[in-house]
């Protein structure tokens, strides 16, 4: 039996986790909230070691904790902010994998006498494994180690349904008649299902899936807590499962995506697919000087930063341009789409890093009425979030997503690397519009040239 003081320490840790989530919901308290969560985790871990509960293999355990902590710490410190979404996906995946393994080991140690506990074990293994393999696929997609577009397997819908059915049958069978080989088979089936679940998801839906898998891992951790009779795991896992579910819903709403299409995309086979490849349609391209003149003599300019800006690490240069324009008396604002970058809030983080004053960042609802009275919109490395296909083209995978209405401005300038479509893989009609000018090249390079042209105006 766990000593009372250990239980009380765990209660304190659970309360700290609640404060952490509460704190993370508001900008002022977010950082402290996160630190409170870390304090709770540290408390619970230290208490476990000094609780006097006998731990075999203590040296191996300590080594695993230390090495794991070092890997987590270093990768979190070293990662470029632009690659942070995939790191979060990866962390989530290993958490799910850990929960699944914990349940497997507990089964090997204790067996399947207690049916309710066994059901919780099976739940942990299935959900934890789905979260693990699904997160690995999202990581590969975001890291662009594989295509970020939806991957359609021939007859994928039927394969997915078959694997899902087999997983459910295997799970039920395992509870009725516990056998180790069946557990191993279930583990493999769940891993395959996790991959099939995420492969057809593409573009804008990827962050939503990460959030969903995050909630999954939470639930599997909660179930593993039931298996082990550990109250802290139940509370922490459930908190994440519940808040993660709500967050997934909110994210989907912010991006105008029906959550069911993300969830059941694998079954429906609803896909982006037919993108009209524009081919050799004419576009109007210009040089840095043209762009500098357009911007320099405008009254009102709106900057629309996107993921391409982040990739080129051009946040600082964009700010320099904005400062120059402001000095010339041009009214400058940044229009931040809720999912600019790769995840909600990602662009705010990146621009804050470049010391862009917070009050110049305008959220979508605030800035959208402004476009009609704007002379020039400068779109840097963004595409999907300004694509009017989201309003007009029912077959487009981003249809229904709220966008920045840059097409209402007098003139639009796109800084782009190439004519390649955005993350969601859809052609953008604005690019071919009469009032649009394109400046091809690396975002940082182009911005630098525009800045120096502007200085010579």
């Amino acid at each position: 039996m766990t000593p009372t003081w250990v239980q009380l320490a765990n209660l304190l840790a659970a309360v700290l986790f609640i404060f952490a989530l509460k704190g993370l919901s508001s900008p002022k308290s977010a950082r402290n909230g996160n630190l409170l969560g870390a304090a709770g985790a540290l408390l619970a871990t230290v208490v476990l070691f000094i609780s006097g509960i006998p731990l075999a293999n203590i040296l191996l355990i300590l080594a695993a904790v230390l090495i794991g902590s070092a890997i987590g710490w270093i990768s979190a410190r070293k990662v470029q902010m632009t690659q942070m979404p995939q790191l979060v996906a990866l962390f989530n995946g290993v958490g799910g994998g850990a929960a699944a393994l914990v349940a497997v080991i507990e089964y090997l140690e204790v067996g399947g006498e207690n049916k309710i506990s066994l059901a919780a074990t099976v739940f942990t293994v299935v959900i934890g494994s789905v979260s693990f393999s699904g997160s690995i696929i999202t990581f590969l997609k975001l890291q662009e180690l594989m295509t970020s577009r939806p991957v359609i397997i021939p007859a994928g819908k039927w394969v997915t349904m078959l694997v899902a059915a087999l997983t459910v049958i295997g799970a039920v069978w395992l509870v009725i008649s516990p056998q180790v080989w069946l557990l191993a088979a279930l583990l493999v089936l769940s891993l395959i299902f996790g991959m099939l679940f995420v492969l057809p998801v593409g573009g804008a839906d990827v962050p939503i899936v990460i959030s969903l898998l995050n909630a999954f891992t939470g639930l599997s951790v909660a179930a593993s807590g039931y298996v082990l009779g550990n109250v802290l795991l139940i509370i922490a896992g459930t908190l994440v499962g519940a808040s993660g579910t709500l967050l997934t819903k909110e994210m989907a709403k912010a991006m105008g995506r029906p959550i069911t299409s993300t969830l059941f995309g694998a079954f429906n086979g609803t896909t982006a697919g037919n993108t009209s490849t524009g081919g050799d349609r004419p576009v109007r391209s210009g040089g840095p000087n043209d762009v500098a003149i357009m911007l320099g003599f405008a009254n009102k300019v709106i900057l629309v930063p996107g993921y391409g800006l982040a990739v080129a690490q051009a946040q600082g240069t964009l700010r320099e341009l904005a400062d120059l324009l402001t000095a010339r008396g041009v009214e400058v604002d940044y229009a931040i789409h809720p999912v600019a970058g790769r995840m909600p809030g990602h662009m705010n983080v990146l621009l804050a890093e470049a010391s862009v004053p917070y009050e110049q960042l305008k959220e979508m609802d605030e800035i959208n009425p402004e476009f009609a009275s704007t002379d020039v919109v400068l779109v840097v490395g963004a595409n999907d979030v300004v694509n009017p296909a989201a309003r007009t083209d029912k077959s487009a995978p981003i249809y229904g997503m709220p966008i920045l209405n840059v097409d209402q401005a007098q003139q639009v300038v796109f800084l782009k690397r190439s004519m390649r479509p955005g993350f969601a893989g859809i052609e953008n009609e604005i690019l071919y519009d009469q009032k649009t000018m394109l400046l091809f090249g690396d975002a940082k390079d182009s911005l630098n040239k525009v800045v120096s042209s502007l200085k010579n105006l």
């Binding site: 950082r31 985790a41 890093e353």
Partner: protein, 103 residues
């Protein structure tokens, strides 16, 4: 603890989980997800516990892997969330003056 008590804790936690994040601005979606992601890294406790009672080499091996993965999730999760949030630390309008121009 008996099953009903654990179930009670589970159900009440669901409500708390929904309640604490009910009002969150879009800007904080990613840090919040990342922070929640760190919190479920507490599965580390589970990894340590099962490894501590494992006897068979296979169980020990799997246990060490689970512990390692849990530690990565827990520590990495909190550190990366902190990095996202340190960008939001209160900054006076002094930031206007040139402080080196970013990267």
């Amino acid at each position: 603890m008996d099953g009903v008590a654990l179930l009670t804790i589970f159900i009440l936690s669901i409500f708390v989980g929904f309640e604490v994040v009910s009002k969150v601005s879009t800007v904080l979606h990613t840090p919040l997800m990342s922070g929640a992601n760190a919190i479920h890294g507490i599965v580390l406790i589970g990894g340590i516990t099962v490894t501590g009672s494992a006897t068979h080499p296979l169980e020990i091996t799997l246990g060490v892997i689970a512990t390692l993965l849990g530690a990565i999730n827990l520590v990495g999760g909190f550190v990366v969330t902190d990095r996202m949030l340190e960008m939001f630390k209160p900054k006076k309008p002094v930031a206007r003056s040139d402080d080196g121009g970013g990267e």
